[in-house]
Amino acid sequence: MSIIPKKHEMPTQSPVLRSRNFQEVALGYDEETAVSEAERCLNCKNQPCVSGCPVHISIPDFISQIKTRNYEEAYKIITKSSSLPAVCGRVCPQESQCESKCTLGVKFEPVAIGRLERYVADRHNASPQAAVEKPAPNGHKVAVIGSGPSGLTCAGDLAKNGFDVTVYEALHTAGGVLVYGIPEFRLPKTIVAKEIETLKALGVKIETNIIIGRTLTVDELFEMGFEAVFIGSGAGLPMFMGIPGESFKGVYSANEYLTRSNLMKAYLDDPVTPIMKHGKVAVVGGGNVAMDAARTALRLGAEKVYIVYRRSMEELPARKEEVEHAMEEGVEFRLLTNPVELIGFHNPDVPRDERNGFVTGMRCIKMELGEPDEKGRRKPVPIAGSEFEIAVDTVVIAIGTSPNPLIKSTTEGLEVNRRGGIIVTEDGLTSRANVYAGGDAVTGAATVISAMGAGKTAAKAIMQQFGL
């Protein structure tokens, strides 16, 4: 049998249609496509794909089960390593992880591992399920701070091994970045809710509206009888550019813009939380968060959406697929362009003019790429005299985050690095005994799967600590 050289394409909503609705863009494989894609897997002995997966899913094994249409078996294999398969199948950057190591990929396109993972998880979630068996309790209590990808993974792994786990979430809904950050069209909230229900069925308790560092402290968690604590509190405070005009009305951090739309449902017709919806929107930054914000703006009804990024297409840090989707939908990329000032409406004659103080323009400067920096990325250098202005009604700043100081400032002996990230050992242990950490709180803004990997590592270390 000859090998099909390309991945089976993922069916998607057409760009014209989807750029105006919040339904999921990628529709998922059907059964025949999934089996046919699975058959592309060579099932090679050394399994390089597994080493590319931060949580080490036995990829060829689950794909083999798809070949023989044993989907539940495939699901069981995946969930041995991953607590959130339907999420990872959608948002993992497989092209730079498992799929980048695929043997088939040397000559052809790699196996579409992510799409197969999604197929297995969705099929499982759509079928009636036997009640999850709660493991026998091992008598140990662990507190997990934050219900994002790292916290949920750590909680899930511990619960599967009999730990009594309580997850503390600051917001009113569990899921962390999966619910406030990643938009519905990329990751439907029902999928996150479903994965969380599965964890609850395993015995994980989730306490919302509790801010560790304020409502309770890490030390109090120990006083309450928890024997270990995992901090997965996420990335924290949004960064701004430090240019004039960033506080004009209509200027948002990506966190605020996405939180308003996702968590607070500002995209609905009659929302309770407002968001600036119309006109021209400029998103500053080139990561996945920037792509999410730009594509959200389109769907909210913007007439024009720009991505403003200071380097070129090649350095754009977002996933290729997200960039392609954004382009198909009509997002305009203004590359090698850096904002230097935001301009606001000012009517000196009418101080009470309601338009006063709203952003109207973005002054930018053209950039060129200079010498590579210490990371090997070519440094953008401004071209003198190349300033120009773009008319905008809304600006979204998506240039990253810095760690939240709340837990650090209320936990004595918890050491952080120069950027404020919590310092951990290879096992995720912090400078405090029995306190572990992982995800963006340690690394700064990164991916869902790397946070999950960190949650997993810490769970393993906690189990070892208790001799399990």
């Binding site: 600051a170 917001l171 009113h172 406030y180 919302t208 509206n209 509790i210 801010i211 304020r214 409502t215 309770l216 996420g234 924290g236 405070l237 949004p238 701004f240 430090g242 960033e246 506080s247 009305k249 209509g250 948002y252 951090s253 966190n255 605020e256 939180t259 308003r260 607070m264 449902k265 009659d270 309770v272 939380t273 407002p274 309601e354 006063n356 103080g357 939240n404 100081p405 709340l406």
Partner: protein
């Protein structure tokens, strides 16, 4: 779900709610705030803590009916529930080491000023309170202020009670007469706080202001509550939810803060009218 254990109308638009939230009740201090949602899918709204009762496990807030959410909140009765209540948030007011302080509250801001006045008093400070309202029927908490103040001025804009005028008038008089305060602490409408800062400026008396910008998460994540400080010729961005809500009044860019708080006035007006219509319809049915 969080139960309302007591509800009291202080005047026709201002209501106090005592809400069961044992963890927050143990922790909350003067100057801190909480965030609540009235119902599922409601917006997140910050309210400063009025008082706590750790033994009863309750936190009380005082609010004015201004928009859609406060309108809905005002419909809640004792024994009913609100869906979310998180806190305390923000940094408590620093009351340490101040011998003579002046607390200036305006309107419903007095509900925040009172616990701060009490905290200073409990700390041994000499407390002068100036509280201002539009008119007599809008006055709240005057007996409570009297109980924790060594000196008090009650102001009304229309002269219908107490002294006629705004809160800056007695302040200017006292400062002009040589009164030395270690600190002036002010809570109320931003425009009022701005004027308090201007009144104190010639005397270089330290002024702390309690900022109340638009917020969403309240934990530092969104940056919507950012305020700009002018410090030594530099403009510094701070987040009111984690760095505040108290700031040095001389550093705050009030014009920007006032403008930012008006970002959604149109939306808020519409939402308020919709809620009123909805409630009216429900009453008709």
């Amino acid at each position: 779900m969080y139960r309302i254990v007591n509800r009291k109308e202080l005047n026709r638009t201002v209501t106090m709610l005592e809400i069961e939230a044992p963890l927050a009740a143990r922790k909350a201090k003067a100057g801190q705030f909480i965030i609540l949602r009235v119902d599922e899918d409601g917006e997140r709204v910050p309210f400063t803590v009025y008082q706590t009762d750790p033994e009863r496990g309750t936190v009380s807030i005082i609010f004015q009916v201004l928009g859609a959410t406060t309108k809905k909140l005002n419909q809640k009765r004792t024994g009913e529930y609100i869906s979310d209540f998180a806190g305390p948030l923000g940094i408590a007011t620093n009351t340490a080491g101040k011998k003579r302080v002046c607390i200036i509250g305006g309107g419903v801001g007095c509900a925040i000023a009172l616990p701060i006045a009490r905290a200073f008093k409990a700390n041994g400070s000499h407390v002068t309170s100036i509280i201002g309202f539009r008119s007599r029927d809008l006055i709240i908490l005057k007996e409570e202020f009297r109980a924790c103040s060594d000196e008090i001025h009650i102001m009304t804009d229309d002269g219908s009670y107490g002294e006629h005028g705004n809160v800056c008038m007695p302040l200017v008089k006292m400062l002009g007469a040589g009164e030395q305060f270690d600190e002036i602490m002010t809570v109320g409408p931003m425009m009022m706080m701005k004027f308090v800062v201007e009144a104190a400026r010639p005397y270089k008396t330290p002024v702390t202001v309690s900022m109340n910008p638009i917020m969403i998460d309240g934990t530092g994540m969104c940056g919507g509550c950012r305020v700009t400080l002018n410090r030594n010729g530099e403009r510094i961005t701070k987040f009111a939810c984690v760095d505040g809500p108290d700031f040095n009044g001389y550093e705050i860019d009030f014009d920007e803060a006032i403008s930012r708080n008006r970002m959604y006035v149109d939306f808020e007006r519409r939402a308020y009218e919709n809620t009123c219509n909805l409630l009216r319809k429900r009453e008709d049915e």
